[in-house]
Amino acid sequence: MTDIADENVNITKTKRERIRERVLQAEKDKLHLDNPRGIINDVEDIIREEIN
């Protein structure tokens, strides 16, 4: 993992929690599927929306 020390890229705790909760929710919605198609896109989109 690359740690970036730069001040500009610090993520606040609230952001992190929001991302975490949304990702878990998205996973839950597809939990019953053997192959949760499109889930990586969903995760990617969540992060895009939260970090902009």
Binding site: I4, D6, R16, L24, I40
Partner: protein
């Protein structure tokens, strides 16, 4: 889940047979015994075929339909193959049935071709039967496939859980029982998303940074390829080891070679024990080295220094007074700098006390004195160290010699086996088997070497990556796009890390949980001074209490098997406890009550261990089904389990020699079998 009845139709050597399972709190064990090849493994496979359409046969895996039924059929005829299981689950009665239709293609076609396959799940509601949609999903909910390996298993391999390098299997089992698929998935998908943002950084970044990321990704790909290669090699090793153990079992079964094979197993256990001893000595050498290894090398340095300091002090270049505090410290330690004891009231003690108040200066002089004063003690450490190391090395040499002696004997056994080239009734010759075994051993050793080489390459590449990552971090990049992508990547990585940490903590919790159960279960069954536990790195280990010390032992197969069974039992307990706690969660499965079905849990064990294992089995789960060979079942096992066995079946196998005969097994209850004799 409670198993009630299994019915087989044209499934391998079973034409039309059934087993009713024992259940209830008293006699919860069902035993099915028969000679080798009579169909024990087939019964285990009947479960996995029914639930997951998955079978694992050593011989003719494609031949699912009964050979007899196929032979009787005419070309174009269809043969129905089915397995039906009645069970209760959460207070509801179910009947699951898998059907396959095989069509005979030609007159010498005994395999047939599948033309239809169907799975049905019926349940009883308000007295009448209804059919479930989505049978396969529902069955996977009732008994998740990822858990099936834990509860339907071949007992002959189970001891491997407590073998070396099986941390992964233990971890996987624990992860599976946790049912936290959601965390496993989320962690993985966040990692994947982080990878996408990394690509974005690269696209928008300066040439220099892009180049670095390129390099890093290229190396990561190389590592992935190496890991795949490593997995392959590991699988090959496992496979070969399985083959070796199969050969061992065959040699044990043949009358001609049984005694020799048994002797070899004993010798091999001796070697293993000696090697554990050698390992222990190596650890002791390391401990000595870490604590005192520096002393012999430092001796000249300290001596020279002491001499010079002494000379300087005599020349008055260091003030020679002693400080009060130094004298006090000597008195307190009750030892003079010369090493002499300073006991209160003795002359030396009074001398030292008399020096109190002489002192003006602290510091340099005191430090010099301390160094000189330590010489004696250090010299003692030096000679002790060398003596101790000599002693340990000598012990180790002796053990190595012993190992060599045993290995010579093992070689002799092999040579003798190779000479036995007469073919037995089963069409096998010990010499053939042994030659094959030798070859496999050589192959395995090659593969182990190969694996180590791959591991080394991966290490080197990982080091290269961490160097590049340092460089990437040092790169200052100003593009706004790059910064944003960096930030997103970082967010993904951080959340991934958070979830991973939570997951690991939970896993550790389950590990400790499982540990408590293993410890109590194991110590009750196994020999008194042995204990089993899952270590922090998820290895299933067996300890021996020697005095105050716990020493890890590489115990016999029997003990490993008991430890492994205790582990499985702990998982059954955990699943049940979670189920009964009535915890509701939409995020993970909340456990269940599972039966255990195992093939040959007594294979390759001596009498004592058979007895111990049979004591362990009924305690593993609410319901246990055991398949065993006649030889394994009769004797101590039968006696031991008498009180807890509810149903006993005997597999009556006819090999089908002669015209129009085909291998077939009838499942008979013990009473019928007795009458049949």
């Amino acid at each position: 889940m409670e198993l009630k009845r299994l019915e087989l139709e044209n499934f391998r050597q079973f034409r039309d047979d059934a087993i009713t399972f024992a259940n209830g709190s008293e006699k919860n064990v069902t035993v099915v015994h028969g000679q080798n090849g009579s169909g024990k493994t087939t019964l285990l496979n009947a479960f996995t075929w029914l639930f997951y359409d998955d079978v694992d046969f050593d011989t003719r895996p494609e031949r699912l339909a009964s050979e007899g039924a196929m032979a009787e059929a005419a070309v174009g005829d269809k043969v129905d193959v089915s397995v039906r299981l009645s069970f209760d689950h959460e207070g509801v009665e179910y009947v699951a049935e898998r059907n396959a239709v095989y069509e005979k293609q030609s007159s010498d076609d005994f395999d047939g071709e599948v033309t239809e396959m169907d799975l049905q799940l019926k349940y009883r509601e308000n007295g009448s039967w209804a059919t479930r949609n989505n049978a396969s999903n529902k069955l996977d909910q009732i008994l998740p496939e990822r858990l099936s390996g834990l509860f339907f298993f071949d007992g002959e391999d189970i001891d491997e859980l407590a073998g070396i390098d099986n941390q992964d299997r233990i971890q996987e089992a624990i992860q599976n029982i946790m049912g936290l698929t959601i965390l496993e998935r989320a962690t993985k998908h966040l990692g994947d998303a982080a990878g996408r943002f990394e690509n974005e950084i690269q696209e928008s970044a300066s040439e220099e940074l892009a180049e670095l990321i390129d390099q890093k990704q290229a190396i990561e790909e190389e590592i992935d390829a190496l890991k795949r290669e490593q997995d392959d090699v590991q699988r090959n090793i496992e496979h070969i080891e399985q083959e070796i153990s199969d050969i061992d079992q065959k040699l044990e079964r043949l009358d001609e070679s049984a005694a020799l094979q048994e002797r070899r197993s004993e010798y091999e256990e001796e070697v293993q024990e000696l090697e554990t001893d050698i390992e222990r000595i190596n650890d002791q050498i390391k401990e000595q080295l870490s604590e005192e290894g520096v002393v012999p090398l430092a001796m000249p340095l300290i001596r020279e220094t002491a001499e010079e300091l002494d000379a300087m002090r005599e020349r008055g270049e260091i003030p020679s007074e002693l400080s009060d505090s130094f004298i006090e410290s000597l008195l307190q330690a009750e030892q003079c700098i010369c090493g002499r004891e300073l006991e209160q009231g003795t002359q030396p003690y009074e001398h030292v006390v008399g020096r109190r108040g002489d002192t003006i200066e602290d510091g340099v002089e005191q430090a010099a004195l301390r160094i000189v004063g330590q010489l004696n003690r250090i010299a003692e450490i030096e000679s002790d160290f060398l003596e101790e190391i000599d002693e340990l090395t000598a012990q180790r040499r002796e053990l190595h010699d012993e190992v060599e002696d045993w290995e010579e004997k093992i070689d002799d056994v092999s040579t003798e086996l190779q000479k036995m080239d007469s073919t037995t009734d089963e069409g096998l010759s010990p010499s053939q088997l042994e030659n094959n075994r030798e070859q496999k051993l050589a192959e395995r050793d090659d593969l182990i070497g190969e694996e180590a080489a791959i591991e080394q390459k991966i290490d080197d590449k990982n080091e290269a990556i961490s160097e590049i990552e340092t460089e990437i971090d040092d790169q200052q990049d100003e593009h706004a796009e790059t910064l944003l992508a960096k930030k997103r990547r970082k967010a993904a990585k951080e959340v991934e890390h958070e979830l991973q940490t939570v997951f690991d903590n939970l896993k550790n919790k389950v590990r400790r949980w499982s540990n408590e159960r293993i410890q109590s279960e194991f110590s009750e069954i196994a020999t008194k001074d042995l204990q089993a536990e899952i270590s922090e790195d998820f290895a299933l280990k067996i300890w021996q209490q020697v005095g105050d010390e716990q020493i890890e032992v590489d115990k016999s197969r029997g003990e490993r098997q008991i430890a492994s069974l205790a582990f499985i039992g702990s998982l059954v307990d955990i699943a049940q406890e979670r189920y009964e706690s009535e915890a509701e969660s939409e995020y993970f499965d909340t456990g269940g009550i599972y039966p255990i079905v195992m093939d040959s849990p007594f294979g390759a064990l001596d009498k004592t261990h058979r007895r111990e294992v049979s004591e362990a089995i009924p305690r593993l789960a609410n319901q246990v089904v055991v398949f065993a060979t006649d030889a394994q079942w009769e004797g101590p096992v039968e006696d031991e389990m008498e009180d807890i066995v509810g149903e006993v079946y005997w597999l009556n196998f006819t090999d089908g020699e002669g015209v129009d005969n085909h291998p077939q097994t009838r499942i008979e209850t013990e009473q019928m079998a007795a009458r049949g004799d």
